[in-house]
Amino acid sequence: MTTFMLSDTTAGKISAQFTHLRHQMGAPAIGMVLTLVVVCEERHQYDALRAASEAAREHPSRIIVVINREVEEPIRLDAELRIGESTPGEVVVLRLYGELTQHADSVVSPLLLPDTPVVAWWPGKAPDVPSKDAIGALAQRRITDARGFDDGGVTSLVTRAKGYARGDTDLAWARLTPWRSLLAAAFDQPVGKVYEGVVEASSGNPSAPLLAAWLSERLGVHIEVLESPGPGITTVRLKLDGGELSVVRTDARLATLSRPGQPDRNVALARRHTSELMAEELRRLDSDEIYEAAVKRFARTYKG
């Protein structure tokens, strides 16, 4: 890994330095397929960058990390450039000070790879309307994470629904894919009519109400969200004629699928790393209408 620090710099100098470093390394002939802009606080930087670089192994990208520092300080731009042997693609960590924090897009836009998709990701708090955000507006795909709102995760989803634009997604939704996939597989054998259902999860888990909203959107019945000791989502129960279909997972790893008239079966259902969630996000860059329907339904029924 070659690291290069530039302090009090400009986007033009950063670009030139990238070109220089690439030449120095014998111009790694790697086609980068997208630019990922990560907007975060200093405390999230390490984990977010790690996840993004892991995901970039599947989707070689230029990763631009934007960290807004003290607004009171004099205007300054610091940059840390990394071109790795271990990761395809390039990384630049930008630290913005003073009034520049309000104009991050002016630094980011000249650094975007030309003519390839741009994805923005807020691992922590995100703007209310990501698509109207200066950086969000540069991206086709905008990834928020309700979990980044700490206790406010569930309510942040209401904001997401209100500010939704095509291309928005949330990692709270991506975390559900294994659950949804298992439930869909269970429904590949017809289950008949579903009357009502329950999703149980640890308190404040933002994925749980999304799962409930998706299920009630698809099944047309009421799905209750209840609290459990966790970790994460622990149970989905659906009331059917002659019993219930349930998926129960108490150890965050192995789930048991039960349905009327059939033996119980264990299925691996592990929680996934952020890097895996990001890799999933980057696989498809068109808008996710199923997420849209789920998050909007959730917002309509949310009582606060």
Partner: protein
């Protein structure tokens, strides 16, 4: 036990137009199992692209679990599928072998194979899920009692695991046992799918050793299973880059206009191996390079590169186009001048001293089996008339590499001085299949600092998968497709037979030619292969 949810296999075999619509829609959706399942399943939606294609509940019955293929590829691939969440709940794995084993012994073998060869990390919960469904049935293929026991075991698994009578039988055994195993599956009724469930059989190459034997083999298999339930594995077709050939050709507008005799000079398709025959003397001797590799892998690659665009990517449309182009393949009139065969002799391969083919253990000193084969083919259609396709494969060559190189004609006029373009070759588009998957474009570029000196440069593209040591194995994709019942990546019997029709005359000619020409291990094959190209004024790409 009938399961109304499972894809109705019978109706698929008979109702052709409906099947087309179904598979086409499923191919578009790309994520779901089949259209009727989607329609019936309120949780599935073609727009829901996150949901992976997951197979329905089923049992995989593996014959030949102690074999090399099972341990190195199949068992690890099954685990990897589980790790990716792609195995259905209740999935069960039944091993069959002539060992006095209990379930736990087979579980141990699977565990070891997974630990040694799986590409994804070992996770206890995934192993637990798999372990629950592992069963073993001991017996010889000739032992009726063993197959009766298998049938009973499967019926019991349906009860305890909810697998709904859906079984895939994977014949990872030497082909001479196919008739016996298939006969047993027929006798015990295991080959017949009850209403609402499916039975599929998976067979590995070689699909016979000539047209006649391929035909006989197929008669045996089709006597028990309908064609739509037979899945022939050509693991090349499961590779990402091979599927990428179709994306490259049919998703872009850049290449299609030049993908024809107007611009292409010739095409070279190579599969080079650096290893010798290893311990597989019994399999290899008498078969040889052409039957082992050209008949299946290289002719499939040729078909994908040369075919017209299919109307969709469903099995029928794709196979139709591949068949059309295989039918149009023509052999050169003079086989002596336009084919080459060789046999490796002792030498140095990558810094190691290695023995020649005739000194290998288990090989007769007089064997005339070729370990290198090169052939020139033409395709008699409007797109390709006059463009030669050169296919070559060999063992103990300089390097392990598989690629398809489309070599373009020289520019009709070069407005440079002769000296300046002396070292300029022909443009080429290379699809690198393995080991370094990707695409290379070769074109001329000005040498900086000179007046107008032009030379060849290469531009490489590798998508991310190739950075992961763990890019999904071809076998994962193919096993999943078998369980889902998605056939586009499996060659149809008609393709198998067409390929033999191309190869048989060459094999017959070679049989009259005595000993193949020796070539030194670690080299790039016999002199006659170079001479064959030189006669056409061309050279093999240096790999």
């Amino acid at each position: 036990m009938t399961d109304p949810a499972a894809p109705p296999e019978e109706s698929v075999t008979t109702a052709a137009p409906a099947e087309e619509a179904v598979t086409a829609a499923a191919a578009v959706a790309g994520t779901s199992t089949t259209l009727d399942v989607v329609a019936a399943n309120p949780l599935r939606d073609p727009r829901d692209k996150r949901l992976p294609r997951v197979a329905g509940p089923c049992v995989m019955v593996l014959f030949g679990v102690t074999g090399d293929l099972a341990k190195r590829k199949l068992l690890p691939a099954i685990y990897d599928l589980g790790n990716r969440g792609l195995l259905p709940p209740g999935f069960s794995l039944v091993g069959f072998a002539r060992r006095d084993w209990k379930d736990q012994d087979f579980a141990q073998l699977t565990h070891d194979a997974v630990k040694a060869h799986a590409r994804t990390p070992f996770r206890e919960e995934v192993w637990k899920q798999l372990l629950e469904g592992i069963h073993f049935v001991p017996g010889e293929f000739s032992d009726d009692g063993a197959f009766d026991a298998l049938a009973m075991a499967l019926a019991e698994i349906d009860q305890t695991r909810g697998t709904g009578g859906n079984y895939a039988f994977y014949l990872s055994v030497p082909p001479k046992f196919f008739p016996l195993v298939v006969e047993q599956l027929k006798r015990t009724g295991l080959a017949d799918a009850p209403e609402g469930s499916w039975r599929r059989v998976v067979i590995e190459k070689p699909f016979g050793h000539n047209l006649q034997s391929a035909h006989e083999l197929n008669e045996i298999t089709t006597s028990a299973f309908p064609e739509s339930s037979i899945f022939r594995i050509d693991h090349y077709l499961g590779k990402e880059t091979v599927q990428n050939i179709m994306a490259l050709r049919f998703a872009n507008n850049l290449y299609e206009p030049i993908w024809n005799r107007g611009f292409v000079d010739h095409v070279q398709i190579t599969m080079a191996e650096d290893i010798g025959i290893g311990g597989r003397a019994g399999y290899y001797d008498g078969i040889g390079a052409a039957r082992d590799v050209i008949q299946n892998h290289l002719l499939q690659l040729l078909a994908l590169v040369a075919m017209e665009d299919p109307t969709s990517f469903d099995a029928q449309a794709l196979r139709r186009e591949k068949e059309k182009v295989l039918k149009a393949v023509q052999l050169p009139a003079n086989l002596g001048l336009n084919t080459a065969r060789g046999q490796y002799s002792a030498g140095w391969q990558g810094g190691e001293k290695v023995v020649g083919y005739l000194e290998e253990e288990g090989i007769s000193r007089e064997s005339i089996t070729e370990t290198y084969a090169a052939i020139k083919l033409e395709i008699a259609n409007r797109r390709w008339a006059g463009v030669p396709f050169y296919l070559r494969t060999g063992k103990r060559l300089g390097r392990r590499v598989t690629e398809v190189a489309v070599v373009f004609q020289r520019a009709p006029h070069l407005p440079f001085s002769k000296d300046d373009v002396e070292i300029l070759g022909q443009n080429a588009l290379v699809i690198r299949v393995q080991p370094d998957e990707g695409i290379t474009v070769r074109f001329g570029s000005k040498v900086p600092g000179t007046a107008m000196e032009v030379r060849d440069v290469s531009m490489d593209f590798a998508y991310g998968e190739s950075f992961l040591e763990s890019s999904p194995e071809a076998y994962e994709r193919l096993l999943l497709d078998v369980m889902i019942g998605d056939p586009p990546l499996f060659p149809h019997q008609r393709e198998v037979e067409l390929s033999w029709k191309i190869l048989d005359p060459i094999e017959e000619f070679w049989a009259t030619q005595g000993q193949p020409e020796p070539y030194e291990s670690g080299s790039w094959g016999p002199e006659s292969a170079n001479a064959m190209m030189a006669r056409d004024g061309r050279v093999w790409r240096r790999l």
